[in-house]
């Protein structure tokens, strides 16, 4: 599904050059639920941004569904983001001026669905996240957990195969965090591949696989374990 090989990403400001990712290689298979952990500043968000084509790598190779996406233009990348990828952010990132219905509608309009199809999908995902009754509410009228569920609904409405979540529970208390996690697990069971960055070790453990990023690379320890597993297999 996702395959990164020797990805590099560096940020250059006037004075310093930060290597956010260095020789970063990783594979995620269809249907997997992968959690990503690591210290702050280690490159987790950078990895997600490149995976979701929000940023382009400085070097290396990134294949999404077997296609090299490095050479796509902005329109093609936007299209791929819209069709294949769902995003969930730590800060929910709902559009404050739009009610829940219209928020979920945003990616569907970019997709070009007609209004009937959009309504069908919006109603379906709102029901999945248990917020059908709130369709006309503004984000500010909801709790953080509810907002994150709307954000998940928005990410799901386009039926993406790949869900990227950057600390989706970071702003939630533990009860709400658990609810969101359960929702993600449920979604994954229906076949959506999920990569989730988290700081919460309990949540990280619930994923099929945990990747630790340290200093812009998948940690050596994990690579050693992976190598050992490969050897015994």
């Amino acid at each position: 599904m996702l395959k990164m090989h020797n990805i590099r990403k560096s940020y250059r400001t006037d004075t310093i050059e930060t290597h956010a990712l260095r020789d970063f290689s990783l594979e995620v298979n269809e249907g997997e639920f992968v959690s990503v952990t690591g210290p702050s500043g280690s490159g987790k968000t950078t990895f997600l941004n490149i995976a979701g084509m929000l940023e382009t790598p400085t070097g290396g190779e990134y294949l999404l569904d077997g296609d090299n996406v490095s050479h796509l233009n902005d329109r093609q990348r936007s299209r791929l983001r819209n069709e294949k990828i769902g995003f969930i952010f730590q800060g929910f990132n709902l559009i404050p001026d739009l009610n829940l219905f219209d928020n979920i509608d945003v990616p569907l309009r970019y997709r070009g669905f007609n209004s009937k199809e959009r309504r069908r999908r919006i109603e379906k995902v709102l029901e999945q996240v248990g917020l059908s009754a709130r369709a006309k509410h503004l984000p500010s009228q909801l709790s953080g957990g509810q907002q994150q569920r709307v954000a998940i609904a928005r990410a799901l409405a386009g039926e993406p195969r790949f869900l990227l979540a950057d600390e989706p529970t970071g702003n939630l208390d533990s009860l709400m965090a658990r609810q969101v996690m359960e929702l993600l697990e449920f979604i994954n069971e229906w076949g959506t591949t999920i990569v989730m960055v988290t700081h919460d070790p309990d949540l990280a453990r619930r994923a099929h696989r945990n990747i630790q990023i340290v200093d812009g690379q998948v940690s050596d320890l994990q690579r050693a374990v992976a190598a050992a597993e490969a050897a015994t297999a």
Partner: protein, 402 residues
């Protein structure tokens, strides 16, 4: 798809700033459209034909110093002299200088013994050379002959029997046409004056007069203590002729005070206030449009900065750069159209007031629509650069900024 509905509801939540810009546009349209018709009206007014080759004409006014001056003799001698100057087409005496702002007028009737009604007309006392000198076009009848001329003292009751009038005046006196050969009368007058000739047009003394163009010429020389001449030069020789006229008139008779100027200068002075009006209003229109454009640039930049995060999120959710730019341009157009719609109503109300209180020209729909269209375009142009720059906001803004 233009996502109008969610856009409108987002706008509704920011209605104060949106309404402020819309109102600014409305006010601008009301002012700009009314100013435009005044400018247009004044430009048309200044572009009216005078009926004369203004650029070739020179006006002379003189006053002798001596008390018992032979005015008639001086006029004949001066005119002979003027016509002999190389480059002069013709010269005539006249009691007033056309388009100068000073002249005489009276009411005339198409029947004797009338007291009310009639038609007011500017009139000149001049001679057989005036058609040729003023470059006018005689469209019917004949010119004055020397026999038509009357030379009278200022207090003498003169009975001028013939006149040449402009076609406009002819149509006013005789709306059915056929004014030639017919007569007109002074108020309460019984002595007929026969219309022996009709000239195509002459603007007359006062360019801003509502009846400008109503002009009558009488073949008469009143021996007042000052006199005026009009001199017509061959095209392109006016300035050279002006110097010669000045020199030779002074040489022939140095004992008089003389003032010589081109008719173009007189005309420019007569249109001075119109000219100032055009310039001031054009400046106001330009400035206002510029200010409203700045306001729109400012608001668009402000809104885009306020919504950086949201733009990043939209990009992450699949918006192309074009989607982002278009969003802001469409939003801007919605505000502009609202403003312009309000402005059209406002312009009509303002114009109603201008027409009734200041007798300004009425606002026509085409002018209003053109002004509205220009303002919408200015608004779009003002939003264009910020909107294009908004498309450069990185999709990573969605995950990076807080």
């Amino acid at each position: 798809m233009l996502e109008l509905k969610p856009m409108l509801s987002a706008l509704w939540r920011n209605k104060i700033s949106a309404m402020l810009i819309a109102l600014q546009l409305a006010l601008t349209l009301a002012i700009v459209s009314n100013a435009s018709i005044i400018v247009q009206d004044r430009i048309e007014k200044m572009a009216r034909p005078t009926g004369m080759p203004v650029e070739d004409l020179i006006a002379v006014t003189f006053q002798p110093i001596a008390q018992d001056y032979d005015m008639h003799g001086a006029v004949l001698a001066d005119l002979d002299l003027l016509r002999s100057i190389p480059g002069v087409v013709d010269a005539t005496h006249t009691n007033q200088i056309p388009v100068s702002g000073s002249g005489s007028a009276s009411v005339f009737h198409n029947q004797p013994n009338q007291e009310i009604g009639g038609e007011v007309s500017n009139y000149y006392e001049t001679g057989p050379h005036f058609i040729q000198t003023l470059g006018m076009n005689l469209v019917a009848g004949r010119n004055f002959t020397p026999a038509d001329m009357q030379v009278v003292q200022p207090n003498e009751d003169s009975r001028t029997r013939v006149a040449i009038i402009t076609r406009q005046m002819a149509d006013a006196l005789y709306p059915d046409g056929n004014a030639l050969g017919k007569s007109f009368y002074n108020s309460n007058g019984t002595d007929p004056v026969e219309i022996v000739g009709i000239v195509e047009r002459h603007l007359g003394a006062w360019v801003s007069w509502s009846k400008a163009g109503n002009v009558i010429f009488f073949p008469r020389l009143v021996e007042t203590n000052f006199k005026r001449y009009m001199v017509r030069a061959e095209p392109g020789r006016r300035d050279e002729v002006l110097k010669a006229v000045e020199k030779q008139l002074a040489e022939r008779d140095p004992q008089r005070v003389m003032h010589i100027e081109t008719l173009a200068e007189r005309l420019e002075r007569s249109y001075m206030s119109d000219n100032v009006m055009v310039k001031v209003l054009s400046a106001v229109v330009t400035l206002l449009t510029f200010i409203v454009a700045l306001g729109i640039v400012g608001l668009t930049v402000f809104w885009i900065n306020q919504r950086r995060k949201q733009i990043g999120v939209r990009r992450a959710l699949g918006a192309t750069r074009l989607n982002i730019s278009r969003y802001f341009l469409v939003e801007n157009t919605l505000i502009a159209i609202t403003g312009v719609a309000l402005g059209m109503a406002g312009a009509q109300i303002a114009n109603h007031f201008m027409v009734s209180s200041y007798s300004q020209p009425a606002l026509s729909l085409p002018v209003l629509l053109v002004c509205a269209l220009i303002l919408v375009s200015v608004s779009l142009a003002a939003a264009l650069v910020p909107a294009l720059r908004a498309a450069n906001i990185s999709p990573a803004t969605a995950t990076r900024s807080v």
